[in-house]
């Protein structure tokens, strides 16, 4: 298996088309595929169809930059830095995006069903809620392109007469999954350290998997402890070496989230003008990760550098 190492620019050009359904790895402030997201914005992809559980800085950026047409999600925010994502909120209220709400378990089960080839998946979660009663996507969009014919269906448990109602959900099989991992072996094997969120399910469910990684390591290293590996080599379509590739979100064992940058973003995100300035300053000018990191600056990167024993930056000023 030869490792398909690419630049972010080439990977986006080759694998991401306008209108694609895209799953974003990570969770709110952790392991967002930021490098590739900035490249998607630079290449001005349009009408993307995001499928996520809880995002996140990457979703904010993509929505804000006008790349997104529709979103299926459970949570749109950047934790304490934006309990509701500013760009997400604005685009929703201005009806620039169509949003379909699910719960985190719904989304995760749907990725799992896609990954496992299950025709559908059922849960009790959400019965009698407006999540299962209402739909944010227009009726005309249903059943077209990647939009499933039904958001979900409520049915009686077919096996247990006392089982009551259940929520039946369609699987997700995104066109592309974007994952940021700590390690990829030079055989292609991918290892995520710390919590995997739903990244593994997303990658297995997707037609194309693009992985950005902190380090490419020898096969001997990554295969010494295969219990820790996350995805087999043949599952990965493109690998992009990406030091600090999740910045300003965290990457366990490598760096913490960047509170300075996230607070800056928090200030610039709400208004269109200042958000545009953010893009002009932090996204458009950089055609290499090195250029971007120079702009972030070594002082900042040293502050968020993870302690080897802890995996985060102890004592970091996180206010």
């Amino acid at each position: 298996m030869t490792l398909n190492i690419m630049t972010a620019a080439d990977a986006v050009r080759k694998y991401i088309k306008d209108g694609d359904q895209i799953a974003l790895g990570g969770f709110t402030v952790n392991r967002n595929p930021m490098l590739i997201v900035r490249e998607i914005i630079r290449q001005e992809k349009k009408n993307l169809y995001m499928v996520v559980h809880s995002q996140g800085q990457s979703l904010e950026l993509l929505i804000g930059a006008g790349c997104v047409q529709r979103v299926e999600l459970a949570y749109g925010g950047v934790a304490r830095f934006a309990p509701t994502g500013n760009r997400f909120k604005k685009a929703f209220l201005e009806k620039k995006i169509e949003v379909e709400d699910y719960s985190n378990y719904h989304m995760v089960l749907r990725f799992m069903a896609g990954a496992m080839g299950l025709p559908f998946v059922a849960t009790k979660s959400g019965i009698e809620s407006d999540i299962v009663r209402l739909s944010g996507f227009s009726p005309e969009s249903r059943g077209k392109g990647n939009v499933p014919s039904h958001k979900l269906k409520i049915m009686d448990d077919p096996l247990d007469p006392n089982g009551g109602q259940v929520v039946v959900l369609p699987p997700l099989k995104p066109d592309v999954a974007l994952i940021h991992a700590q390690y990829v072996g030079d055989d292609g094997t991918c290892r995520i350290c710390g919590l995997t969120f739903a990244d593994i399910e997303q990658a297995k469910a997707a037609k194309t998997v693009i992985v950005t990684c902190e380090e490419i390591v020898p096969m001997d290293f990554i295969r010494e402890e295969p219990d820790q590996n996350s995805l087999p080599h043949f599952m990965i379509d493109a690998v992009i070496p990406a030091p600090f590739g999740a910045h300003p979100t965290a990457c366990h064992k490598f760096y913490d989230y960047d509170p300075m940058h996230l607070n800056l973003f928090k200030k610039m995100a709400p208004e269109d003008d200042s958000f545009k300035r953010y893009l002009d300053e932090w996204v458009y000018p950089f055609h290499s990760q090195e250029d971007y990191l120079e702009k972030v600056g070594i002082r900042d990167l040293l502050k968020i550098r993870a302690n080897s024993a802890l995996g985060y930056a102890p004592g970091l000023d996180r206010r």
Partner: protein
């Protein structure tokens, strides 16, 4: 002037509801404080876990997000959303979820999604995240709210997380096998739910307020007939909370005025 803040008594009031051995589904903020303080004081065998998959982290530093790398350190297991969310509904465990929301109704149903409609949206919140799942599947739910009429509403704009639904046995009839809100902890007091009707009533009000004031801040009729004053925080509770749980006051915020001046 009290010698503790609303945030402090909220964390402690919620912490008092935790039983030893509970499996606590924590968010960040207040729920982290409540979970941690209860573990240090009266529920040492309670376990904290996060929907992101971190089970029982050491929490040497307070995480500010459920995806904070601080929830991945010296855990019992680092796992995934699928595992963490399925732990919520494990029938073997008393799983208690701490939730917040933008709106709550008298049956403890929560809105964390939107105001208005999809067609004509007035406001947007982040969405339920794992809250709908916790409200559906956990053994019990403890809700944190800011006590304001616009948040305690007669009718939710959107029901994101099922509480007692329309009250009485509605929740069981809907097919939920367990769960439902246990208490609502606000900056004014602690609300519980009537055994029969499942309607919210005032159980405790903090020494800083009185039942009538609480009712006046509630957008639906709140039964205050059973209300009693909360026990004020003990010295032990405050000491543990301030010195042990959040010494940097990352979540606690500023010290109360009297304490600062002491």
């Amino acid at each position: 002037m009290e010698s503790y803040t609303a945030t402090e008594i909220m964390a402690l009031s919620a912490g008092r509801l935790v039983h030893n051995g509970d499996i606590l589904f924590a968010g960040t903020g207040l729920s982290m404080l409540a979970a941690t303080v209860s573990k240090r004081i009266h529920a040492p065998e309670a376990t904290v876990f996060f929907e992101t998959g971190g089970i029982d982290p050491s929490l040497d530093e307070l995480p500010l997000a459920v995806a904070d790398p601080r929830v991945m350190v010296r855990t019992s297991v680092n796992t995934s959303l699928a595992d963490a969310l399925s732990l919520l509904c494990h029938p073997k465990f008393r799983t208690i979820a701490f939730l917040g929301a933008a709106q709550i109704d008298c049956y403890g149903n929560l809105n964390s999604t939107l105001m208005g409609t999809y067609e004509n949206p007035q406001q947007r919140f982040p969405g339920s995240g794992g809250a709908c799942d916790a409200a559906s599947m956990a053994y019990g739910v403890i809700i944190f709210m800011q006590h304001q009429r616009r948040r305690f509403v007669e009718k939710l704009d959107y029901l994101s997380s099922p509480g007692w639904l329309t009250g009485g046995d509605a929740r069981r009839r809907a097919g939920f096998k367990r769960g439902g809100p246990i208490a609502v902890v606000t900056n004014l007091g602690v609300m519980k739910f009537d055994e029969q009707t499942k309607k919210m009533y005032l159980d405790e009000y903090y020494p800083i307020t009185n039942p009538e004031k609480v009712a006046a801040e509630t957008g639906f009729h709140l039964d205050i007939s059973r209300a009693r004053e909360s026990l004020p925080p003990s010295d032990t509770e405050l000491t543990v909370l301030r010195q042990d749980v959040d010494p940097q006051r990352l979540i606690l915020g500023p010290m109360p005025v009297t304490s600062i001046t002491q």
